[in-house]
Symmetry: C2
Subunit: 471 residues, 2 copies
């Protein structure tokens, strides 16, 4: 650590906003991703955009990597400082700045907790739909950097669909504002859209204008149990074919159901092959009709049990299985690796079966749950990072999963991001042309590569071995 750099930083921010002790550095050496850890050189807390500008200019001068970090819930090592450098926190920049009811916008700083936004706008009869599972602790800045999804993605879209404006400190220290309280804007390239989901590799987001919509007046929750995966997948297809776009359409496979039952004793049959959680919101009459029709479709496809919640308490109960899925799985082995392969919705059953086969082929334990309506699955591997031999098989299994997803017209990541974990595989998805365009953009905006280095752009790429697994 350059002493001169540290002095300048401390002078700028005050001692209380510059952390350098071993314990402090350790606390920001990892995020929610298994098997990635690296100490930063320093951890800082800017108080406003001007602080960020000054820090970025300093880092530019010293060619110091900058890793912006919300609450560190990232699942692809996107906030792990794998090249050291400066971790930037947004604990001081956590204010809701303005609710504009005329324009239905909310202006926030990046450090606001996602759930705080939900609660605040819903108290005004408004609605911010993106609901990543981590929303109780994740920050909106992290959500924007990762273009986070959530359970309501199918009907309402993801974070990028609700970002109207951004203030961004570029690697040069210049401040770029793009978008605003505008329903439409085609003045130049959509830089805002490019920045959302860029994982901190192009600049530091310091202010966000979000789009709000009216809060739906009614909501209803239902579940269906199936003794066959195909029946559940066919139910999903037929719901969409019936022109219903549910607010939530979530799926648990048998492994996840077993883990949930062991954990929560909900009375789920241990041989249940699939569990669907279905929710609709909107107008009262439409909600009633859609939920009734979804239940009917489930029954026609051989659902062995269905239930519709008649109260908020009942709804919470029905949602328990999906809500605790990850925790239930995570308690079974020392290490949990949550993946994010996404396929066209029509390929859901094929993909789940491919994952099952891959788990058998590589003798690893993988259970799958996720957003059935989106085709966004979360194959979750239960393993132990201390077992090097098993970890090698886990890695091979995930490569096979990526390969299977791409063969079905899917992608490596639906909502978690590339981070460092998936960067070696990104060219599999984007091709050399896509990588060329992305690298051209990155190099022209961040020529010194100080913005979250190693993320998205890999140190070394994996060769794609086309895998013929037992189908």
């Amino acid at each position: 650590m350059n002493a001169q750099f540290l002095n300048e930083l401390t002078e700028l921010l005050g001692k209380e906003n510059v952390k350098t002790t071993q314990a402090q550095l350790l606390a920001y050496s990892y995020d929610a991703t298994a098997n990635f850890q690296a100490l930063p050189d320093v951890v800082v807390s800017p108080r406003h955009t001007e602080d960020v500008v000054a820090i970025v200019k300093l880092c530019d001068r010293y060619e110091m990597p900058i890793v912006p970090r919300g609450s560190g819930t990232n699942l692809a090592a996107g906030t792990c400082p794998t090249q050291g450098g400066l971790v930037m926190l947004f604990n001081h920049m956590n204010q809701i700045l303005e609710l504009d009811a005329d324009n239905l916008t909310l202006t926030v700083q990046p450090g606001v907790i996602t759930q705080t936004i939900h609660e605040y706008v819903e108290s005004k009869g408004l609605f911010y739909p993106p609901d990543p599972s981590s929303m109780k602790i994740s920050t909106i800045g992290g959500n924007v950097n990762e273009n986070s999804g959530g359970l309501r993605g199918l009907k309402y879209g993801v974070t990028k669909d609700y970002v109207l404006g951004l203030t961004v400190v570029l690697p040069s220290g210049e401040v770029l504002t793009c978008g605003g309280k505008l329903a439409k804007d085609v003045a130049g390239y959509d830089l805002k859209a490019m920045l959302v989901g860029s994982e901190g590799t192009l600049g530091i987001i310091t202010e966000i204008v979000l789009k709000l919509i009216p809060k739906p007046v009614a909501q209803k929750t239902a579940i269906a149990h199936f003794d066959s995966l195909d029946a559940a997948a066919e139910t999903v297809s037929q719901i969409i074919a019936a022109k219903i776009i549910p607010a939530t359409l979530e799926f648990l496979d048998n492994g996840t159901i077993q883990a949930v039952e062991e954990f929560m004793h909900l009375g789920l049959p241990l041989d249940l092959q699939a569990f669907l959680l279905m929710e609709q919101d909107g107008e009262e009459a439409q909600v009633e009709r859609d939920v009734a029709q979804m239940i009917e479709i489930a029954k026609e496809n051989g659902a062995i049990f269905t239930a519709v919640a008649e109260s908020e308490a009942e709804a919470m109960k029905l949602k328990t299985g999906r809500r605790v899925a990850l925790s239930a799985l995570a308690r079974k082995r020392p290490t949990t690796i949550l993946e994010d392969a996404t396929v066209p919705r029509s390929e859901l059953a094929t993909m789940v079966r491919a994952i099952e086969q891959i788990a058998r082929d590589y003798r690893v334990q993988i259970s799958t749950f996720g957003h059935a309506g989106d085709g966004n699955l979360h194959p979750t591997c239960l393993t132990d990072v201390r077992d090097a031999e098993e970890m090698e098989r886990v890695e091979q299994a995930f490569e096979a999963i990526f390969d299977a997803s791409l063969k079905l017209g899917g992608t490596l990541t639906g909502e978690h991001g590339v981070g460092e974990m998936k960067s070696p595989y990104l060219a599999w998805r984007l091709g050399e042309e896509g990588m060329f365009v992305m690298r051209a953009i990155k190099q022209s905006i961040d020529p010194k590569n100080i913005m979250n280095p190693n993320k998205i752009f890999a140190k070394s790429q994996k060769l794609r071995v086309v895998i013929h697994h037992g189908e």
Copy 2:
């Protein structure tokens, strides 16, 4: 025109797909933008992506500008070949390739007419919302390149919200595919979002995957007349504040109303200050309730006349005024210049009044209509390009309109694009930082600047003179 280039082109495409006569070149020397005309060197019609690749490689070799062109309805000179070169048509690439009902996607070639898409998907009970006014003749490729809006933008968003995947021939001749039939994808930067609305400056789009939604089951149309602009604007604000997001919320000012009445004799009072067209779609009950509430809000704000259509024929009649607005204005003077300033919705009345004042200050004739719910106004100047003195005042008036829009937190263009016409003003909106990032992207992807040169990136920038007009 290089003979060798022309020979290679003809060999590649066949004589019938290479136009070079003066009459043919003249036909593609202009688009729907007044006062811009320039002859291309050659006009070609590729038959498939491979043809486009070969043409682009040839143009790269000869450093020949390429101007992709749909139906030439562009209103910002975006498809005018102001630097000569090759105009590329998509008349052979006009097929609907696939409707995927399971994934609710439509795959199309760029030359498909927008309205053909509407009719095709609606016949299957599905819906493609973007409805630019030019949709009867515009192509989807043009819509994607311009990120076109339309009357349904407030509720349903614009073209970019419905583009899931793109195949693009890069200036190098490499083929980039991005996105796909996926509800979610965060593998790398959102290149697709950057390409939508890039006006042909980054590559040639040769295939598009569109997102569809279920067709709303019911729709209702209503109108309200106001003797004050403020009353109409307040009605718009209160409709949104009442948590109604109408499918359409359109506005005509007094000048437009007069022109419409002279043209169509609908019985509109000539002193009417504002006309609102309001539509809702969705569930029957919700549509009824929303329309009734919008009418009530209009009346509370002093509407002097309201009407609700009870049939499709009545709805068409109520919509006439808005539908013919541009034609009604255009017949009054030899030249019509349609502008596209967009402000936050709450600034609607302020902006309309600023436009009125500017028209008086510069002694030019400007009437305004547009998408009230979006804050997307179309100040329309009736003038005569042959009168150089008047044209100078027109240009000054538009500069003052851009300035007023930016002061209100608005933008230069909500849905028409920058093209060549607005390129000298773009830095007013984006600042030097925004221009730097855009130029960095453009230069790194298209180093020889062959892709639609002069568009978005100006030959010379206008200085912004902050104007203090009489408020």
